[in-house]
Amino acid sequence: MSSKKKPDQELQAARTSGFSRRGFLGTASATAGAVGGGLLERPAQAAPPAGIMGPGEIEITLTINGKATPVKVEPRTTLLDALRERLEITGAKRVCDRGTCGACTMLVNGKTVYACTALAVDMAGKKIETIESLSAGARPHPIVPAFANHDAQQCGYCTPGMVMASKGLLDQTPNPTYDQVKAGLGGNLCRCGTYVGIRKAVLDAAKELRATGARKNGGSNA
């Protein structure tokens, strides 16, 4: 690592300044674990250019639930594994590990992301919201008690992902129809069979959120 800058800053700088060789290499190295070394073959023969990450551990800073959090990861480390194995933020679960089941759902810059298929190094500088954020305040986000009240979980292993997918849905669609709830949670799978409670919980939380919003805005009805 010859760069004086922190790698994540480097990567971010390259990204924001548009395409650059450095940015390309940074991105390429970050995905090398998945696509094999082919892309890097030629540059690797020369002296390692500045900005390349890895193959060993590097320190990056992730913004998790509003807090800048330094973490050492390999470029191939997923966002999910960085949180679970290196930061002990274990609410999100690793289940399919292939972007199918949604148990690792987080919000990144407000959008739902499968953290098992996002590389940690790609997440530097982005706003990461995890399940832990929903109960960080004095009162939990209404989706949390709604899940409990509707018994929307059994073993509970899919639940943090379901709750985050629900949050993602409600952030974008505050007044969802029943069909929108079903579709909005289509990227999350449960094995115990808790969908009946989940569907009710999301509709209920939406109602509560609208009522809270209305109270805050001084209105009587959302």
Binding site: A92, C96, S135, C155, K182, L185, C190, R191, C192, R199
Partner: protein
Amino acid sequence: MPDYSYPPMENRRVIGKRITRLDGVEKAAGKAKYNSDVRPKGTIHAVGVFSPHAHARVKSVDTSAAEKAPGFAAVSVVAKPGAEVNWAGQEIAFIAADTEERARDAASLVKVEYEVLPHLVREENLAKAGVRGKPAGEQVTGDPDAAFSASGTVSHEAEYGIPVITHCCLEPHGQIVAWDGAANQIKYWPSTQTVSAVGGDLAKQLELPATNIHVHQDHIGGGFGSKFQSDVWGAEAARLSKKAGGKPVKLYLDRREELTIAGVRPSVFGKVKLAANASGELTAWDSTTWMTGGFAGGGLNADLLPYVFRNVANRRINHTAVSTNCGTSRAWRAPNHPQVCYITCAAMEDLAAKMKMDPVEFFLKNVDKTARADTYRGQILKASEMIGWKKNWKPRGSSPGTVKRGLGLAVGTWGGAGHASQCRATINPDGSAVVEIGSQDLGTGTRTIIVQVAAETYGLPMNAITLKLGDNMYPASGASGGSTTVGGVSASTRKATVNALDKLFAAAAPSLGVPADQLEAVDSKIQVKGNPAKSMTWKAACGKLGVSAIVETGANDPRNPMGLTTGGVGGCQMADVSVDIETGVVKLNKIVAVQDIGLVINPKTADSQVYGGIIMGICAALYEERVMDEMTGRFVNADMEFYKLAGAGDIGEIEVQFEITPDNDKRGVIGLGEPATVPTIAAIANAVANAIGVRPPVLPLSAKNVLNALHNTTRRFA
């Protein structure tokens, strides 16, 4: 002997109430710690090397390069040279390193040489099984041949099949384990359905006394029957820990391994012939079935055929278990039942269609061949009403248009009596109350119902009870399987708390001036029965204990449950589906379930058990299938993209009905996890056959299987 019976229904304050599960918020907030979330200081990571061949002999295992890999900590070779591997995914070696990524790197450097041997991985064609098929002896009751040829008899003959499906627990099998070699003590954090017994199982593998193993588990991410053992990976993780100087080793299967080697449900395929007389009464049954439970897995109890309608006078049963080079089967929620339910109820629906009878009428006509004629009659009528059978049912294949609607029904049964369970109840002089039990909460609500029972006994609010479970230092309680937990733990908790309360009455009686048996515990008070004026607070009563706590135990003995728990329930489900005959896509509109039930401790979590059972059945009916590749011998869809489960939009609407009545209450507590999942598959399959006019014989009801049935291109078994 104290009276352990529950208070009359009308007097209960906590039992029978729709209490929200105690760990609901914790789980929904992502705060519940599963053992796969636990990370003791110094934890290292292990991964496995698994056979890519379905059948092979190991020639050599070379770990030398792996041992030089960065971060390497320890290696353990399971399959020594000469060992035969019998399924793809069988364990060869395990490697530990400082991080999981580096453990995978090291594992990729292990060189294994195999002599590849011939394999058999598909069982649907029995003729190809050869010597791998082990037929059980034929069983004959009555004279089936005469019955089939009797005049006026209508018979039907067809083939049916359900493929192998996998448990697909969301939390994979695995554990953290730390073996302190000097003290020879093991700390074990498994994902287990049996906290009290899994340590002993690990001890046996490691040849250690069971008492040297401390098991702890707060939450488990699904088991469904597949998590009773400590398994090869449990023992190897322990050995790696010892080799690494006692560092905790984290070893969880990845998704492919989880689906491939950590448990599947046996398949069943079969040819069925059944007959009824002109008025629709079943007269004869003849089935030749076969299945696989993997290389050496469990079988299928074909003696359960015909299912539920047991008293068919003439019956012939042939059954063959086929050993295949596939991952071994494990118990699966309601072992045997969903499969034999499908075979029976599908064949009955087909015969009814042939006889141009309404299947509801046909099933009703035969309820006296079941062990619970009145129960099933009532359930079938109730379910018919709920789904609007009379209005919505049409004879098979007469639904118009290209999207065809159909209705189907099925019935099931299960035991569900409580398992052996011990509980320790402590009442401290400061008034605190502790309940300890070596059980586990699979997400069924076990924690919640234990606390409800204790709070009911003591007349205390639920939050006054401290429950400790999930650890083998607490009194041993049974494995959570077969819907036996709720009956077992409720009975042992009731007995322990009644015993403890009796001691508290004895301590308080002198101050209240009456004999102890004249006291009751109500509203956080100990009072003279029916006389709130003569009372003292719970806390004051506990103060009479001086310095000694009350410590009492209670046990459920399954041979004498004293009326607190029983088994034996029936259930009926009906499904309403739409099938697009151009695409073959089945859409579930609605399922109704009428479930037989005993004393209900928590109707809210009971509802969830029934919903969950039905949804699991929906997954199996519509989507689930392990696909084995004949050429490579591998499980080709061992992931969650191509091994399909139902999502939130795939389950239609579900309506559940069970009757909380004094008559049912008298039966005591009966487990509910298994019975609700039994009839779902057959009900949906019958609805599809009713809709499209033909029977897709083999599940799942995928577009492929539905279209094949419609175009009569279904591959026959033999």
